[in-house]
Structures are given as C-alpha cells and as structure tokens.
C-alpha cells in the first residue's frame, strides 16, 4: 500500500522526535563514560575531549565489575536454560493436548507476567528465609535461588512464545513420525524441534534480555556473592554524589550484549514477539 507523502513526513517527524528523546540521554551518558573524571559534570558540558578508558578500568577492576559481569552471565544463562528445559515441553503439551483447565492455566501463566516483581520478590524472600531457618536450605544470595526465582517471569514467556511456534505446525508431522516407528518424545526431538529451532533461539534471546536487565528481584534476593551488573550500577549513586562516568561505563557494559544480540536477531525477535501476541 502506498502511503501519502504528507503522512509519511508526519510519521518521520514523530519518529525522529521520539528517537531524540530516547537516544540523546543515552548517547550523552555514553559519551560521559569516556570522559576523565574532571569533566564528568563540567558546565557547560564538554563535547571535545581525549577519550579515556579509566572509568572502565576503575569499575571493572577496582570495583570488581568483572565479578558482577560473571554473576550476571551465570544467572541469566542459567535461568534461560532452566526456563527452556521446563518451558519448551510444557509449551508443546499446551499446543497439542487438551487437558483439564488447560486454557485457564495458560491465562494464569500470562497473568504472572502482569504482576509487579515486588509481589513475587517479598514472598520469595520470606520463603527462602523459612527454608534456611527451618530446613537449613540456603537459597538467599545463591545462584540457584535467583535462577529459581527468575522462572516466575521467564517460564510464562517461554511457554507463550513456544506454544505459538508449536501450534503453527501440523500435528500430522509428529503423528507421521510416531507411525513410522518413533515415540512421541522421539518425534518431538527429531522432527519438531529442528523445525522450531529459530523460535527457540528467539525465545532464548528475549528471555536472556529480561533476565539480564532484571534488577528488583536481584536487589531483594541477591547479596554480596551474587550481585548482578544492574545492582552494581546502583552502587555508583550514593547519598553525597553520583559518579557519572563510572555509572555510565557500567551502563555501557550492561547494554552492549543486548544491543549486539538485538541487531543480529532483530527479525527473529519481531517474529517471536508477534507470535505471542497474536496467539
């Protein structure tokens, strides 16, 4: 369809204004990450300077940024892997079988994504506390503890996205394999999963982004041993001052993998996202 010129111009104007609103603070901040401390907050702002990596050096080594990066990677990858292991078979079941209250369960799953994290965070904190005191199972400030907690918002997304992919395939695909000598699991593994593989990749990446950016649950449930990158960013805002250059260099470290992943896989991401919505 051909869009009239005036409408296209209007669309571009709106998009450019929005882009400026969103991008300028990010860009200005990112520039600050490369400024020496002396001109972090100079007024008027300094735009021409010799870029330096001293902020990165400081947050990465002096303030143990590498440790937080490691923690973030372990928690994000671990929780995505767990969400896929649990969620992909669940999604297949939702797509293929009608069972008692399967519809209600799907709706309940999506409702899990609508609740604010504090509703989940505090009960988990209380549960972990009871487990620790009552049974001696320590989950506070551990990787397994955080990975389990993250399932509350990752699993519903995995199930919703993957169910869309499975539902698109004809059931005859597995049935054919089942008649030809395979079990249902064998058919799922050898026939169906290879077909939905791009969907699994898109789902994994989207979930990784959510887990990577997560702040609130980590704030409640993580501690010294498991602090994540977003939490470490918070430590540069203290009562007396904001360490702008350090803060923005942490931000850049947080954003970089997300931006790279999104650019590489933007097509699959859009497809994966619309699947969930249209379903």
């Amino acid at each position: 369809m051909r869009v009239p010129r005036s409408e296209r111009i209007l669309a571009y104007v709106i998009l450019i204004v929005m882009a400026i609103l969103v991008l300028v603070p990010v860009l200005a901040g990112s520039v600050t990450a490369f400024k020496p401390q002396i001109i972090w907050v100079s007024s008027p702002p300094t735009w021409i300077f010799e870029p330096t990596l001293e902020n990165f050096e400081f947050v990465f080594f002096t303030r143990k940024g590498w440790l937080f990066l490691r923690n973030s990677l372990i928690i994000s990858i671990g929780s995505v892997v767990m969400a896929l292991i649990l969620g992909v078979p669940a999604a297949y079941a939702f797509a293929r079988f009608r069972f008692r209250s399967s519809k209600a369960l799907m709706q309940w799953l999506i409702s899990l994504r609508m609740i604010p994290p504090i509703v989940v965070g505090l009960p988990f904190y209380a549960m972990f506390l009871y487990l620790e005191r009552g049974l001696g199972i320590g989950l506070r400030d551990t990787f397994p503890g955080l990975i389990i907690t993250y399932q509350t918002f990752l699993l519903p997304l995995v199930i919703w996205m993957m169910r869309g992919y499975f539902a698109e395939l004809p059931a005859a695909m597995e049935e054919s394999a089942m008649v030809e000598g395979y079990t249902r699991l064998g058919a799922l593994w050898r026939v169906v999963l290879p077909v939905v593989w791009p969907g699994i990749v898109a789902t994994a990446i989207l979930n990784f982004i959510f887990a990577w950016n997560e702040f609130f649950l980590a704030l409640i449930l993580a501690g010294n041993r498991t602090s994540t990158l977003p939490m470490s960013a918070g430590t540069y805002i203290v009562r007396t001052r904001v360490e702008w250059g350090n803060l923005f260099s942490v931000n850049l470290i947080i954003m970089a993998p997300i931006i790279v992943l999104t650019i590489i896989l933007r097509r699959q991401l859009v497809k994966g996202l619309t699947f969930g919505i249209l379903e």
């Binding site: 009608r98 004809p170 005859a172 695909m173 049935e175 054919s176 394999a177 089942m178 008649v179 030809e180 000598g181 395979y182 079990t183 064998g186 026939v191 290879p194 077909v195």
Partner: protein, 368 residues
C-alpha cells in the same frame, strides 16, 4: 493382513454424540478398503484409531489376529499417509524417505538401497537430493508414499492423501496408488469424502455417516443396491433424484406410487417389500442415468420443461421441471437439448429405488 474392528467406540470430550459409534468391520488381507462419508462421519477417527493416534473408548482392533488396541503407534507395523502433511521440512527428500528406517536401526548400506528402490517405484529418484521446499505438491505426496512404503508394512492407512492436489494430479496419483496396491499386495485402508475416488479405488467401500457404518460393499453394490436413502444419495454424481410419495394398490394387483403431480406403476420386484405398506410414505429414487428421453409420452413417462443444461463433455446434465420437482437427467450431448424444450421422461423400471420414509431403509430385498 486382515484388519478387524470390533465394537469400536470413540467419544470426544466436546461432543455428546459418539464420533464412532460401536462399529464392526472386517477388512480382508490384501484388500483396498475405502472409508467414505461426508466430513464428521467418523471415517478419519476410525483410521486414526487403527493407526493408534486416537485411543478408542471401548472395542478392539486386531491386525492378523494380533490385538493392537493398546499398542503405541510405532509398534503396530503400519504406514500412514496424511492429507495436509507429507514431508519433514528440515530434511531433504532422501532423508525423508530414510527416516522410518533409522527408527529400526537399519545399516547405512541397506538404507541406501531401500530408499533408492522406493524412489524409483514412485518416480522421484531424480529428486532425492532436493530440499523439500523445491518439490511440488504432487511430488511431495509421492515422497510421502515412498516413506510409507520403505518399511514394507503390510497395512497402509491413507487419510485423504489426494484432497489437496489439483484435479489432474489427483487422477494420476489415484492410478498410481491402485498400482502400488496391486504390486505390494498389502492391505490398504483409504479415507475419502470423494465418492468418485472411492468408486475407482476401492475393492470394498464402507459408507459412514454420524459415526455409524451405513453399508459395506463393492463399488457396484453401494451404487446399484444402496441399503438406505443416505447411501443412495451420497454415492454417485450427479446424485440420485429423490421424491417422497405414497404407495397404493393398482387395479391389476401390483403397486402404484403417488408422486407430486403424477403416479407410476411399480415393478413386481417391490411386491414383497411393499406387502403391508399400502398408504405408507416412501422415498422413491432414480439415478439421472436411468432416465431416458422419449419422443412421445407413454406409460411410466412424465413431461416437463428443461430449465438448465450443464455440459459434462460427451454428455449433458439437464434439469427438467416436472410440477414442483426438478429432475436431473443425463443425456447424450449430441441430442442437443435446449432450455425451454419440453421433454418426456421415461424411468427405467429396473433402476427405481424405494426407501421407507421413516427408517430410510431400502424396500428391496438385498440384491443387485
């Protein structure tokens, strides 16, 4: 191998009517049996129960005397071709055909031989290296056939495998399936809603409706000796002309039939079936092929005006208005009948059918 269904019942949770209602059926070894019926008649459900893809609520299924009712699909030793799915999209044609052989852990060399042989049999050996995206619909169903045959099963199940193909290809593949049946000597169970396909393929036709078997018989039997009005109406294109009428006694002792606007004398073979039916409502049926155009009016002959002419090629299907009834009649195209012509229709006495108006059962003793 002989396939026997005993008192088979299947209900689905979302419906109060049984999808398959306690059916009994014997399909002899080496037979090509066709399950025929409109959509929702239970034919596909029946086939899926034989395949093991649906579990019956009650009843038994045996293949060659072996009870397979509770076996997993993979352990039944069957092959199945589906309507809307024919190939695994991540594998090429070769790997598609080889796929069932990997399940039985066959050696690589043997697999190669078997795949090539099957591909030759259905004329796709030039496609083996192709990606499945590069093959047409007809070729895809050939791949499905090859994949079904590669394990040399003794029972083939086919769920409307030709329905998604265009008309010409459908006829071509139909012939090929018939040939494969003859070459393999296996038992074929074929599901279709297309009565022409059923007639041309089947050794035995099983007509189903609402989960019940209406009639089992050869193509000739279901066409010429339908057990009830449903079979009579469903089998044959163009379909049978059917009218409600009332039976009465004729002067000479025979029976007559009062139809809207005219009456007919009924042939003697109905006498036994009509013994206590004087005054009863019946359904009278005659196929469009059994109506002849006469030059003059006469006995068992009615006149009407041609309302519509459909060209079928060498023959025309004309629709003749007789009072309130429109009769479909097959005539030779060379007779060049035109809309508005007056025709005298003669009904071949030997091909009239009568059915009880309530039970819809045939009023003829079971014979051709």
């Amino acid at each position: 191998m002989r396939v026997v269904l005993k008192d088979l019942v299947k209900r689905f949770a979302n419906s109060d009517r049984a999808a398959v209602n306690k059916i009994n059926l014997v399909i002899e070894a080496g037979e090509l049996a066709v399950l025929l019926g409109p959509s929702g008649c239970g034919k596909t459900t029946t086939l899926r129960m034989i395949a093991g893809l649906e579990q019956p609520d009650s009843g038994r299924i045996t293949i060659a005397e072996r009870d397979i009712t509770n076996l997993a699909p993979k352990d039944r030793g069957l092959a199945m071709v589906f309507q809307n799915f024919s190939m695994y999209p991540t594998m090429n044609v070769y790997d598609n055909i080889a796929f069932p052989l990997h399940a039985v852990k066959m050696k690589r060399g043997e697999i190669d031989g078997a795949v090539r042989e099957m591909a030759r049999l259905v004329n796709i050996d030039h496609l083996l290296g192709r990606s499945v995206r590069q093959v047409s619909g007809g070729e895809a169903q050939r791949v499905a056939l090859a994949r079904a045959m590669v394990r040399r099963p003794q029972v083939f199940l086919m769920d409307e495998p030709l329905s998604n193909l265009d008309a010409k290809l459908r006829v071509q593949l139909r012939t090929e399936i018939k040939r494969l049946h003859q070459d393999t000597g296996a038992t074929f169970i074929f599901v279709t809603h297309d009565q022409e396909e059923a007639m041309t393929l089947g050794d035995k036709i099983i007509v189903m409706k609402d989960g019940d078997i209406q009639q089992v018989g050869s193509p000739h039997e279901v066409f010429f000796a339908p057990r009830n009005a449903f079979v009579a109406n469903f089998v044959g294109t163009p379909s049978m002309n059917m009218l409600h009428g009332t039976v009465s006694r004729g002067e000479s002792g025979g029976f007559r039939l009062q139809l809207p606007g005219f009456d007919l004398s009924l042939p003697e073979r109905f006498n036994r079936g009509l013994e206590n039916m004087t005054g009863s409502r019946v359904i009278w049926g005659i196929r469009p092929e059994a109506i002849k155009l006469m030059p003059e009016p006469g006995e068992n002959c009615v006149s009407g005006e041609v309302e519509l002419v459909e060209a079928l090629g060498s023959r025309d299907l004309i629709f003749v208005r007789v009072v309130e009834q429109l009769f479909g009649v097959i005539v030779d195209a060379l007779e060049s009948v035109a809309v508005g012509d007056t025709c005298h229709l003669h009904f071949a006495a030997g091909q009239m059918r009568l059915f009880d108006a309530d039970s819809e059962r045939s009023l003829l003793p079971n014979s051709l």
